[in-house]
């Protein structure tokens, strides 16, 4: 995000340069000379060298932390990996009494609730981003961006409480009976209207990831040079057609934002636990209760008495860890590729 912000500033500088179409040669040469001076000094100056090795060290610490975490979880889940093997991923029973564990219902719950959240949040977030980056006048844009980012700062337990006291009763009394009335044979909407369940979890998560997706998407859209917009408008495109062009320029950035949002949804614990119903069960219906990986760890770890029980919970953590890392890595790569494209352009 930082790089994106600085990008926007550099665009402003360009515009201030008065040309608007190309970067003035003076700016380019100034940055070039700054760079070469910096590299020359870092070889000579001892302070710089210490500074550089310290920052290297800090960067390495982050790597070490990630690997140590993965190693510890791998070690902790050894027992369960040996006992269940691949069957752990496909097993559907979770029975602490018989010491028999399968993680599929939790994986299913995490994936479905997160995807549902994405499905609900994505159109909304992109809409917000387009409005803020393309259409909104300054006096609306500022407070509105602030409000959107404020949503991201609300602790998840607050979302959870809101879910339990407002969202769930509303779903139970107003929404779910209507869904059932429309069709009680359609597999997505079947069963009893508990209020608690996959639908509630998806909606809560959608609200929680909306600020992430919309604020990054807005930054991505703002990073697209104004020349694109101007060119489109100059060729006679309408506002809508110009926006479509901007969107297609920013699509990989928006995809990156989406994946970051998905990462948040996958790892969310408290709010989901409070509304998902906590039943390890695989059901096609969104009205039925489910369970998620993060929730089961939070719920059961403190009282996990047998070694295999603890180990199985740690293996779930390992699966969750892998999923989040993959999602985040993908998001970074995509954001990186889109920003690089516009830097070179």
């Amino acid at each position: 995000m930082l790089t994106l912000h600085s990008d926007r500033e550099s665009i402003d500088i360009k515009q201030a340069g008065g040309d608007g179409n190309s970067v003035p040669p003076a700016v380019v040469s100034a940055t070039k000379s700054m760079k070469s001076e910096k590299s020359r000094r870092s070889v000579v100056n001892i302070g710089d060298r210490i500074f550089r090795s310290t920052t290297w060290f800090f960067a390495f610490v982050v790597f070490a932390l990630v690997f140590l975490m993965a190693y510890e979880m791998l070690k902790g889940s050894q027992l369960s990996i040996e006992k269940f093997g691949f069957k752990f991923l496909t097993g559907t029973t979770w029975d602490p009494v018989a010491d028999n564990y399968g993680a599929l219902p939790f994986i299913f719950g995490t994936v479905v609730s997160s995807l549902l959240a994405l499905l609900l949040a994505l159109p909304l977030s992109v809409g917000v981003a387009i409005f803020l980056a393309e259409l909104a006048p300054r006096w609306i844009e500022r407070p509105m961006s602030f409000m959107v980012e404020l949503l991201a700062a609300i602790p998840s337990i607050v979302y959870g409480l809101w879910g339990v006291f407002v969202l769930v009763p509303w779903l139970r009394t107003s929404v779910e009976p209507k869904l059932l009335a429309i069709s009680d044979t359609f597999p997505l909407f079947k069963g009893a209207p508990y209020g608690f369940g996959m639908l509630a979890a998806g909606i809560i998560l959608a609200i929680m990831i909306l600020p992430i997706i919309s604020s990054i998407s807005r930054d991505v859209l703002s990073a697209i040079p104004d020349t694109q917009r101007e060119a489109a408008l100059a060729l006679g495109a309408t506002r809508w057609e110009a926006t479509k062009i901007i969107l297609s320029d920013g699509r990989s950035g928006i995809l990156g934002a989406t994946l970051l949002g998905l990462g948040r949804a996958v790892g969310e614990t408290m709010a989901v636990t409070m509304v998902i119903g906590n039943r390890p069960e695989i059901s096609a219906s969104l009205l039925d209760p489910g369970y998620s990986m993060a929730s089961v760890i939070a719920n059961e770890f403190a009282e996990a008495t047998t070694a295999l029980y603890t180990s199985s919970l740690i293996e779930i953590a390992l699966i969750l860890f892998c999923v989040t890392i993959v999602l985040n890595a993908a998001a970074r790569l995509i954001v990186w590729s889109v920003t690089k494209k516009f830097k070179t352009a």
């Binding site: 029973t93 979770w94 029975d95 602490p96 009494v97 018989a98 339990v164 769930v168 009763p169 139970r172 009893a192 508990y194 209020g195 608690f196 636990t273 409070m274 119903g277 906590n278 039943r279 390890p280 209760p289 369970y291 929730s295 939070a298 719920n299 059961e300 770890f301 403190a302 009282e303 996990a304 008495t305």
Partner: protein, 342 residues
């Protein structure tokens, strides 16, 4: 000059203070008795200058920590298994004693306006509801014990704890005793594979589920239900009598179980004998090393336990715990006397 004098004085007071309170006992475990334990530790340390540091991380955590020897005492809502006791003996070179401290009960709370304040349930009906075999409020089995109530044809929403907990342990221990189907298919433990229903996190989670959904039924700690004014069912006990949960009926359950009390006091008192016994009652235990390496700490623990059996019990009712009956206290005192002996 004056400043340095004040500093010296402060330093002197500080060292004096820390010298008199040098002994610090570390404990960890159950969350259920946390309220009374913190009261006990507070009162006792004011009287005797011993400091306590208790982490309420859950019974499972308490058992783990006492096994690893990272605490001076543990606490648990469910007794340790034979295998766990053996493991401690191997790792720490000392047996672990179970000392009951107070009692709690689990009540069945419900949200059914037609049932009023005194829904009657038999063990069979309760087990069948939790097995998902009785699904509607107007089931003939429920009507049979509530003949005066006009129960509607409404689905029963079963609520249980989603987090591992001693409350679940006592509740499933009870169902395990009264229902053959339950013991064959589900069993007992801090978390089980529930055949029916929704999970809520903590007593408040279950109470929330029940409060919000008409037709729901759930189980919570007696203390929680009393504090929050929830209505709870009258249960039929082993003797066939319908008993309401109260401190008296819980203490009666312990007294009723005294006949079959094993020597090590690791006993479940659910479904206890006695006409006045409330059937879903249980002890909570302190887990104490029989032979501690640190003899000063050992003596302090003995002194504290003796106090807990005497004055300590008087704090129980105000904090919504049932005190131990006299018969059990006698057994505990015998156990406490054995600490430190080979």
């Amino acid at each position: 000059m004056r400043f340095s004098k004040i500093l010296t004085l402060a330093l002197a007071v500080f060292t004096l203070g820390s010298a008199s309170a040098q002994l610090k006992l570390n404990g960890a475990g159950a969350t259920f008795p946390y309220v009374i334990y913190s009261k006990w530790f507070d009162v006792y340390s004011k009287q005797n200058g011993v400091q306590f540091n208790y982490q309420s991380i859950g019974s499972g955590g308490g058992i783990k920590q006492i096994t690893e020897g990272t605490v001076d005492f543990g606490a648990s809502d469910g007794p340790m298994s034979d295998a766990q006791l053996k493991e401690v003996k191997e790792k720490q070179g000392s047996a672990v004693l179970h000392i009951p401290t107070v009692m709690g009960a689990v009540v069945v709370t419900y949200n059914q306006p037609a049932a009023g304040k005194d829904l009657h349930l038999t063990p069979e009906v309760l087990a069948k509801i939790y097995l998902g075999q009785i699904r509607y409020w107007n089931d003939p089995a429920i009507k049979a014990v509530n003949p005066d109530k006009n129960l509607p044809n409404q689905a029963i929403l079963v609520a249980h704890r989603s987090d591992g907990s001693g409350t679940t342990s006592i509740f499933t221990d009870y169902l395990n005793k009264v229902s053959k189907t339950w013991s064959l298919n589900v069993g007992k433990g801090t978390s089980v594979n529930w055949p029916a229903g929704l999970g809520g996190k903590g007593n408040e989670g279950v109470a929330g589920l029940v409060k919000q959904s008409e037709g729901a039924i759930g189980y919570v700690e007696l203390a929680y239900a009393v504090k929050n004014n929830l209505s709870y069912a009258v249960l039929q006990n082993k003797a066939g009598a319908f008993v309401e949960a109260s401190f008296e009926s819980v203490s009666a359950a312990a007294a009723g179980a005294i006949k079959n009390m094993p020597e090590d006091l690791r006993v479940s008192i659910t479904d206890a004998d006695g006409k006045n016994s409330y059937p879903i009652s249980g002890f909570t235990w302190l887990l104490i090393y029989k032979n501690m390496k640190d003899k000063a700490k050992e003596q302090e623990i003995v002194k504290f336990l003796t106090w807990a059996m005497g004055e300590g019990q008087s704090y129980a009712k105000d904090l919504y715990y049932a005190p131990l009956p006299k018969e059990v206290i006698t057994l505990c005192e015998k156990k406490i006397a054995s600490i430190g002996t080979k």
